[in-house]
């Protein structure tokens, strides 16, 4: 059979009726010529020559604007697509300054190590060609001790990550005197990844960085790059607490691209089951690669990388002699193998690669023709970054997003306008979350004593210092607060995880040698490692004999059983303070501070494949209290009663609606689903919905289940920040209430299932048969006439 080109392949696909039926959108993005500008006069001739030799005879317009602003001493944030030459926007000003003043220092910050390594290669190349004595070093956890001293003293450009800045550099700033005394630039790449809890920490790390710079008499310029989000300027200004110039018009030429949103066909209408996203992915990959169209696939898990790679290798075995014709690529592969794969891709000896998002962020693999995304990567920004891996300079390219069976994926493919229009994704940080702020005040005091009248964050610093003095970690003399404790505060908290505590899983199968097999974060331990739970790892089942919270250990034994366990949790929310309120169609919408109580009360044993309930167990774990911020809305009984549903149907409908709302909220917030949580109850915390043995029950207290609702209390749906003190999500959700409800309505209404499924209101067995129907009725009521 003759091979087809990508455009022929596309034409064929569009004529295929079945393909057309499942493609919810096929959009053509035209090529554009790009706009250019000459090098500014001030660019050093040698630097210009080196760049010209690399084929860069002129700059893209955005590059010229960016370096001009930096030249004028302005802080910038650059928002341009993948492969639009953003690295030159910082490398030109930095190298230029170092050539002029050899003592100049710069810090390059990347969120991950892989990305940092990649950027090193690029800047090393430029320096080599410049034949200049400019030193660049990576400084991270892997840097050998004996190299560290040289890096501190000599590195012109120090490439590192926020975690290292936080725990390794700032607390030892005197060792970096040379760097801080000459620090002119701080480059912050992938700015949009610094959001939520991580971003709130990083904002405080920047506060500390600026404080140390002031001590050494420096005020460096920040050069930031971000993927497309709704609020890049605002986000950069929140993160850096400076005025930032936004540059968001790309002058880079663009090749034509076809972008397809694909929803796998429904295979069981009653249960609303769709074909696995892996099936169309496998078929498309096979077809494209078979036609020698170089293709990359992104999956959302490591396991799926391996599974899809195996499928493809099996398909090509015998047809192609080279075993590396298709290959996997993910974190965990050794660096040498990774380099080999990257080379194979550039040289086109590898025609297909399956990856997690390790490749998402910029490693040079040349110009691929097609990109298949198996599952929504979680944000629109990263979807475009992944799609950008195909078609950097080639004539035409293809990107396909295949939806999985969850509300987020379904919403995206079923609402193409949402996806293709201006980005709806906002980056949020709440650096003044008291716990986060307090932690960084401690670290800052360790770095330099605080002085009377100093500012740090938006809370009253003097009061916080007094609090720490009372706690005995600071000591005040002559209006200065000094660190007065033995410990090293930066080690107390990681920037990336919510809780610093982990529970260690100990395998005691072999009584002679106990073995640690995993670590589970504190929160998850309550639901996955309670006594009697079945803990799964690498397809092996373990029975949890004992969860010892005091010693932070769970003792497990290997077992082989035909069920898994699902913890029964209750969550109870009580309103402490409402910050703002609005009323829409008689629904009261609010946000404010709440007290959340969570407790695991028992678990269900669920049989594999049939999902039958085969037993229950009790769990006695302490309840956990937390104060945080929440968004909520209250539905008056008068309105609900008019819907002519039974009380149980109303509860099921609310539960279904909330399941979907939870997912859609996480999507809008660009957050992990675990960063926000939900609860249905009333504002007083008197009653709330919790799962019972067979169906959800409404109760007035954890000990006395009562399955009636009192008319005195109106049902309220809460979506809250799953972090003590809150991260600032709630206000955003409150502002976007209409948008949220509309999105939820659209997901549930367009779902092909009959009574509910994991793609809309949640698994049928958990939410009850009337959930979908009732949820839609409630939503219609909420949206009004």
């Amino acid at each position: 059979m003759a091979r087809v080109s990508l455009s022929e392949w596309l034409a064929r696909a569009e004529n295929d009726r079945r393909f057309r039926e499942n493609a919810t959108a096929i959009r053509y993005i035209d090529a554009s010529d790009g706009s250019f500008a000459p090098y500014p006069q001030w660019v050093n001739p040698l630097l210009q020559e080196v760049l010209t030799d690399r084929g860069i005879t002129k700059l893209y317009s955005h590059q010229a604007r960016a370096i001009e602003f930096v030249h004028q001493g302005r802080d910038i944030v650059l928002v341009t697509p993948t492969a639009s030459g953003k690295t030159l926007c910082y490398n030109i000003p930095v190298l230029q300054r170092i050539i002029e003043e050899p003592e100049t220092r710069a810090i390059y910050l990347f969120p991950t190590k892989a990305l940092a390594n990649d950027q090193m290669t690029e800047v090393h190349g430029l320096i080599r060609e410049l034949k200049a004595n400019i030193k660049t070093f990576t400084y991270d956890g892997d840097t050998p001790d004996d190299a560290r001293q040289a890096i501190r003293k000599q590195g012109n450009v120090v490439v590192t990550n926020p975690d290292m800045l936080h725990a390794g550099i700032l607390p030892h700033h005197t060792k970096w005197q040379k760097l801080f005394s000459n620090l002119k630039y701080v480059v912050v790449d992938e700015l949009h990844t610094y959001r939520g809890v991580f971003g709130s920490h990083v904002t405080n790390v920047f506060r500390r960085l600026k404080r140390i710079c002031r001590f050494y008499g420096q005020d460096p310029i920040f050069i930031c790059c971000s993927a497309t989000v709704a609020n890049p300027k605002e986000h950069a200004e929140n993160l850096l607490e400076k005025d930032i110039v936004l540059i968001d018009e790309s002058g880079a030429p663009r090749s034509a691209k076809t972008f397809i949103l694909y929803n796998p066909p429904v295979v069981n209408r009653e249960l609303g089951i769709r074909q696995s996203a892996m099936t169309p992915a496998r078929n498309m990959m096979n077809d494209l690669i078979g036609n020698r169209i170089q293709t990359i696939a992104f999956t959302t898990s490591r396991l799926n990388v391996e599974v899809l790679t195996k499928y493809l290798k099996d398909m090509f075995r015998g047809r192609i002699p080279d075993d590396h014709y298709v290959t996997g690529y993910r974190g965990g592969y050794l660096p040498n193998l990774r380099r080999e794969i990257e080379k194979g891709l550039r040289e086109k000896s590898i025609m297909g690669v399956v990856s997690t998002n390790a490749l998402e962020l910029g490693i040079d693999i040349g110009d691929l023709e097609a990109c298949i995304m198996v599952g929504y990567p979680g944000t629109i920004a990263s979807t475009w970054q992944q799609a950008g891996r195909a078609g950097r300079r080639t004539g035409e390219s293809l990107a396909v997003l295949i939806a999985k069976s969850n509300p987020m994926d379904q919403f995206i493919v079923e609402n193409p306008d949402y996806f293709f229009a201006r980005s709806p994704e906002y980056c949020r940080v709440n650096p003044d979350n008291l716990l986060i702020l307090l932690h960084h005040i401690k670290s800052a005091a360790f770095e330099l004593p605080f002085e009377e009248g100093e500012m740090f964050g938006k809370e009253d610093l003097m009061e916080l210092l007094a609090y720490l003095e009372e706690k005995g970690v600071l000591h005040r003399v002559d209006q200065r607060w000094h660190w007065a404790a033995e410990n090293y505060p930066a080690d107390e908290v990681s920037l990336r995880t919510i809780s610093t505590e982990n529970v260690v899983v100990v395998d005691t199968t072999d009584t002679g040698s106990h073995r640690v097999i995993a670590e589970v974060d504190w929160e998850s331990a309550f639901t996955t490692l309670h006594d009697g739970a079945i803990y799964m790892m690498e397809s092996q089942q373990y029975h949890v004999d004992l969860l010892d919270l005091e010693r932070k250990k769970a003792y497990v034994k290997k077992v082989d059983v035909d069920y898994y366990t699902d913890a029964m949790n209750y969550t109870n929310v009580k309103v402490i303070d409402d910050f703002d309120k609005k009323i829409k169609n008689d629904i009261i919408i609010e946000h404010g501070e709440v007290q959340v109580t969570r407790k695991v009360v028992g678990y269900k044993k669920i049989k594999f494949y049939t999902s039958e309930n085969v037993g229950y167990g009790d769990v006695d774990l302490p309840q956990r209290d937390m104060h945080t911020t929440s968004y909520w809305f209250t539905l008056p009984w008068d309105l609900l009663n008019a819907l002519q549903l039974t009380r149980l149907d109303i509860v099921d409908g609310l539960a279904g609606l909330t399941y979907c709302l939870h997912h859609i909220s996480a999507m809008l917030l660009m957050s992990d689903i675990r960063d926000v949580d939900w609860c249905i109850g009333d504002k007083s915390g008197e009653w709330y919905v919790r799962p019972g043995n067979n169906r959800r029950v409404i109760t007035t207290s954890p000990t006395k289940p009562v399955s009636v609702m009192d008319n005195a209390y109106d049902p309220t749906v809460f979506i809250f920040d799953a972090y003590p003190g809150g991260i600032g999500f709630s206000e955003n959700l409150f502002d976007r209430h209409d948008e949220l409800i509309k999105a939820v309505r659209s997901v549930i209404a367009s779902c092909p299932c009959e009574h509910g499924c994991p793609m809309c209101v949640g698994p049928l067995l958990e939410v009850g048969p009337s959930a979908k129907h009732s949820a839609l009725k409630i939503l219609d009521m909420m949206m009004g006439p």
């Binding site: 716990l435 609090y467 090293y488 504190w522």
Partner: protein, 436 residues
């Protein structure tokens, strides 16, 4: 609502944040300390009369510690000065006995010739007590102990910052003292004390006198020479085993930061009495240790006064430093040691020195002795095999000696066996060529 109330609400009763959960751990640590304290007291049967008690009235610093306030243009601080007279006894020695360490020997120990021409009178002994061991800018050296010789006496001078605000004055004073001296003597000062002081000079924006000064750090040579017979190379361990110093009621090092924090909060000088004494003894011990080490170098041939194992380690240390002449003489004496480990340990490096000097007869004698003493001495046998093969070209002898060892291979590890077998095959092949 106040920030304080908000905070305590956030971290709540059963809260799961690091803040709240650090407490039980600290409690465990405290408990551990208490237990260790109790154990130590029971064992030594000494309850220092000056142990701080909570129920007592605070004792002024000047009463608890002999010393006085010093006022300078840059501020004030507290200083304690003591003099050890020439005839005072410290451990096994009198002060006058360690007042004159040989500077050429110090030069050998450090590998820096510059010390040869310096005088011990220009040396400044230095040791700090700090608020933590983690390092970083938040660690505060609140007590800087200094010491120096004046004639046959030893003076200690401890500069104490009564609170953080006195640090600037202390550092300026330290700089002045240091500028009257030529070099520093510390125990682990290169990695710790001087590094930390450099940080403090930067934080106080004052000139760092110390970083550029010549520096004898006693830790490295002590570890090399004594570690073979001590459980660790801490100054306190060396002091009690080598210098004969017995400290009574000494404050354990890990307790010192808390003593300072307690002092800050309660202004009770009794918290610090033991800390000053601990620091003062550390400084005197460094002076005694310097003398011990330089004596070892100076009198290295006089075997009767020193532990032969120490001498062997010293000889190896000097050999590594490239001081062939001195180490050769030491090894030549040490092979006569009645301690078999020492004699054997000296024969090997000595044989290598002879080999390099092409003193074949002497080298062979040593190898034969070694092989005779232990028929599995692979080092000696390989050297002999090489000698017969390349020097005397007696291939048969070489084959025989290697075969002898291979037949008794039970004691050899796999790597040795492989290398020996390889050598054996090569020798056989070479021998067969010769026969043809």
């Amino acid at each position: 609502m106040s920030l304080k109330d908000r905070l305590s609400r956030l971290v709540g009763d059963a809260a799961t944040t690091g803040e709240a959960k650090a407490d039980p751990r600290q409690a465990t640590m405290r408990e551990l300390r208490d237990r260790i304290d109790t154990l130590m007291r029971r064992r030594e049967r000494i309850i220092p009369p000056n142990t701080p008690r909570a129920s007592r009235d605070a004792v002024p610093l000047g009463v608890a510690v002999a010393g006085e306030e010093v006022r300078t243009p840059h501020g004030k601080f507290f200083m304690s000065r003591t003099i050890l007279n020439a005839d005072d006894v410290y451990g096994y020695r009198r002060v006058r006995d360690f007042a004159c360490p040989s500077m050429p020997a110090a030069a050998f120990l450090t590998g820096h010739q510059a010390f040869t021409d310096m005088s011990i009178k220009d040396g400044l002994f230095l040791d700090t007590e700090t608020t933590g061991l983690s390092g970083g800018t938040g660690t505060f050296p609140f007590l800087i102990g200094l010491g120096w010789f004046e004639e046959d006496s030893f003076i200690t001078c401890q500069l104490f910052a009564r609170d953080f605000s006195e640090e600037g004055a202390v550092l300026r004073y330290l700089s002045e003292m240091a500028s009257g001296k030529e070099f520093l003597v510390t125990f682990n000062g290169k990695a710790y004390d001087i590094n930390l002081l450099t940080t403090r000079f930067i934080l106080n924006r004052s000139h760092d006198m110390l970083a550029g000064m010549p520096h004898i750090d006693l830790l490295h040579p002590s570890r090399r020479i004594f570690a073979h017979r001590l459980e660790n190379a801490r100054l306190s361990t060396i002091e009690s085993h080598i210098l004969g110093v017995r400290r009574e009621g000494d404050v354990p090092g890990f307790e010192i930061p808390q003593r300072y924090f307690d002092w800050l909060r309660q202004n009770d000088g009794m918290f610090l009495k033991d800390v000053f004494e601990h620091n003062r003894l550390d400084i005197i011990s460094m002076a005694s240790l310097l003398k011990y080490l330089t004596d070892l170098v100076e009198n290295s041939i006089e075997m009767e006064n020193y532990h032969h194992g120490d001498l062997l380690k010293l000889a190896l240390f000097l050999h590594e430093r490239g001081d062939v002449e001195r180490s050769l003489r030491m090894f030549e004496s040490l092979i006569m040691s009645p301690l078999p480990d020492v004699a054997t340990g000296a024969r090997r490096p000595l044989s290598i020195i002879y080999k390099k000097m092409r003193r074949w007869d002497d080298a062979v004698k040593l190898w034969l002795t070694l092989a005779h003493a232990d028929q599995h001495d692979i080092f000696a046998i390989e050297e002999l095999a090489k000698f017969y093969e390349h020097q005397t070209r007696e291939l048969e002898k070489a084959v025989e000696i290697v075969r002898g060892l291979l037949e008794n291979r039970g004691h050899l590890n796999e790597i040795h066996c492989t290398s020996l077998e390889y050598r054996y095959k090569r020798l056989l092949y070479k021998a067969s060529l010769k026969e043809k």
